[in-house]
Amino acid sequence: MLKTKYIIIVLFSLFACAGVMAQEGEKTSLTKEKVLSMTTEELSALSLEDLMSAIDVVGVSSLEELYELLLNKDVTSASKSEESLFDSPLSTTVLSHDQIIASGATTIEEALRLVPGLIVREKTNGNFDVHIRGNDNLPAKNMLLYSENMNTLVMINGRPVFNYSHGGTLWETLPVGFEDIDRIEVVRGPSSALYGPNALSGVINIITQTITDESPLVSGNVQAGSLNTLIGDIAYREKLNDKISIGVTGNFEARDREREEILIYDRGGSQYSLDGQPVDPGYYNVGEINRMRNGSLPVWPPYDVKGERYDIYKSFPDPEQAKERRGINAYLDYKVSESTNISLMAGHQNSQAVTSSMGDVPTPYTTKIASTSYVDMRANYKGLSLQANYNGGTIDYMSGNEGFELDNQQLNLQAEYDWNLGKVSIRPGVSYQSMSYDDSEHIAKVGNGYLNQKRTINILAGSARFDYRPTDKLRLVAALRAEKYNKPDDVYASWQLVGSYKISDDNIVRAVYSRANQSSFLVNTYSNYTWNVVNMEYPRIMQFDGNEDHDLKTMDMFEVGYRTRPAKSLFLDIEAFYTISEDFGALMPSSTSFAVFNPLDVAMTGATPDVNGIVNINYQNMDLVAKQQGVTASFDWVISEKLVANGNFTYQQTKLDNYFPLNRNEVVGYQAGVLSADPDLPTKIGQAIADYVGGVQGGLINPEEQTYAIVSSTGGVPDVEQDDYEHKATPSYFGGFSLTYRPCKKLEIFPQAYFFGEQTFENQYSTETIDAKFLLNAKVSYKANDNLTFFVNGRNILNMKDREFAYMDEIPGMVLGGLNFKF
């Protein structure tokens, strides 16, 4: 209620301001008719300032402007230098600030639904999963962690915003809002040769606005509506003089889930009860979960960490809230001289999101809480580009679960030089990355975290990009990069080999062969986590260990593409791709042991042996190979001054070789079955107890440290790998289309559709089918004047509530109202 009042006040104030400012009309004696009636000779006689005034009166025709804005964009991410999107040698899309605002997207991720080749699924209101082309949820049959997109490198002005702890992107922790963004550039296909590791399926580079004389002093957006959604951002930018520009932006977002209950799912034969009554897996509020039991054990047992209670209420402090985030950013551009420029950007964000879990808890949900800050410096001196940035803070990946809260420090340094030799340009570069994560401040004792100390991954890299244009039509590009990791102690090479041929000014073909690799992640490398399982009957202990010498995942891609402008108003792009991904890895059971957990009681009091399991889980490479082939087609069509159409469609197929069809629990179950079937098991139990007692008596075993006696172990897994297995976690088709219709200058209607086909999500506990979905959004904007635009924004207006992501929320249609302002 209070929020609504504030919104009304803000709206009213802005409207009043805009009304006053709108009174200041253009003062000029020239009219459009007068200018258009002037002869070439008369126009040629004008001075430069008079000519510009005359041109301004006529303006660039709306159609010409649309051609320029929509069909003639620039891109920098494909080659690290500005070039026409049409000439880009890679599969590239640019989403402009105006397109994002016009679309009504409420988050950056949602805006990416406008980009060809992107699969964007909403998990909870405002929290999304974003994949380029797919290859998602691999390896399958495992924790939800592996559904995170670890294949795409997201950057802000070339600064990686990547989670090197587990892999993936925590979208809610991005500090920027729409008013910060000038454009989002998406490059599809392996791009590690240009941007370093984790750019396997591509890069998403968010480019912030440049402050110019034309920048509005104050601008922003605010909207509010269904599910208590309130989203806003504001920017102040000013060019103080020819040398210095400054800016400050802030953004805010809060939105609720459609329910406050949390899903408790079946974790392999769970026997749930609530207040003594048997209940099925399903949705429960946190109070009920606090009272639930699985067999004789509490589902969510509380414990203390450094005097603080870790329980369901700490895990889900706001279960009804999907997301809340705040960000602030500051900009300083300093033009030192004609040839030297320095840009500084710094900011901070706080965020909390209820979204999919990264660990193994009774619910697929988790609350992620983050507080991070960054500073990014970019400097240019003639052809030399330098970039240095630091990102640090604390991220709790699973609130209320000891060991998942980490302090992080990320440092990136990069230097590159553009050397233009005419037909050849060479861009050599060096970079250094250091990513440190430390959980020691947030665990009760060493052993309770999976790092238990500060751990670091370092990457030293050298690169060179050769861009050769033997003729005006032919272009050959070779980008090469070598990376030396501290863990694994190895060197990885990545490359892009590209050829493009411009058949004519309006037709260009391209062919690409590229390779990219993942980096090592802290969890995969350094895990040393002992999980004393207290909410399941079996196993009793799970030991997670990293692997410092694992192989890093790689992706190779072969791609051909064709871009054409059959008419000045139409832009078509078609790309066909084939990728091979290998050296997947996952935390998988390496061995299972039977142990007696009360050996002294058995020996001294004759108690029944408490035999249970100890599972050792190691990060290990798998034989899995994913082969994907697909085609994406997109078009941008300026039909008239009033109507613009955009659309894209992707069809893909992914086949897996050496696919391992068993999930983690089935492997453990298989190993436990082998141990149970041992006819000598009773004898071995007796022997283990005797050995344990003997060890204690002989001083070889400290019963305080080792409380159990190992009976037997096995590491075998069944030989069940399959080839040519159809991977269905990526929908076979997906895409979208939109129209921009401006019946008059003040009114704009933007209907947008996004769709994807059926998917099958394979988790460690179950397999869930996600039905095909068709989402329809529509935004209607009324431009009251140059300063103020009001809008009504309908998201999912057909109210298609089917889940988009396994186990996550069924999000209903939403209606929001708001305004964009600039002064």
Partner: protein, 170 residues
């Protein structure tokens, strides 16, 4: 869904046929002519004609021809030359690189680097690749980015007026 797509396509086809031609080429030609009033070429660039070479934009070339028929640059006739490739670009006072050929900017600037020539591009951001002036559209208005240091590196003198009316970039 198929019916909807078909309907949209039919509607769009009709609209496509009524495509308008804009004024932009005329304005760019007028700008180019006006630049000749605000740039001083060194003595070695003097000849009987002021040569403007157009690479990759027939519309601007046609508009400049109209201007050349009725106007002079100082006391020189204006000669418009059309080039189809960077190799074809001969000695010129101004070279205008059309938007469709903007990928050639680096090569062009390298080939012309020691010559007294004003390189004008038709796409924002190309000053970074060697253009002295580059047209851009800002809020529906035709503007130009200008890099005085680059222009002066070609031994040309540039008036303060042309700098102040443009968007100065490095």
């Amino acid at each position: 869904m198929r019916k909807s797509i078909l309907l949209i396509c039919v509607l769009c086809l009709g609209a496509l046929l009524s495509e308008m031609k804009g004024q932009t080429a005329t304005f760019k030609a007028l700008f180019l002519y006006n630049f000749t009033k605000n740039i001083d070429w060194p003595a070695e660039a003097n000849g009987s004609d002021l040569v403007i070479t157009i690479l990759g934009d027939d519309d601007v070339s046609a508009e400049l021809e109209k201007i050349a028929k009725v106007k002079k640059a100082g006391n020189k006739s204006i000669k418009i030359v059309q080039a189809r490739s960077v190799k074809e670009v001969g000695d010129s006072h101004i070279v205008f690189l059309g938007a469709a050929k903007s990928a050639l900017m680096q090569t062009l600037s390298y080939e012309q680097q020691d010559k007294p020539v004003l390189l004008v591009a038709d796409k924002g951001g190309l000053c970074k690749q060697g253009a002295g002036i580059s047209f851009v559209t800002v809020s529906g208005k035709l503007r130009y980015e200008i890099c005085p240091a680059l222009i002066e590196s070609h031994n040309l003198k540039v008036t303060q007026k042309i700098i102040s009316l443009g968007i100065e970039v490095q």
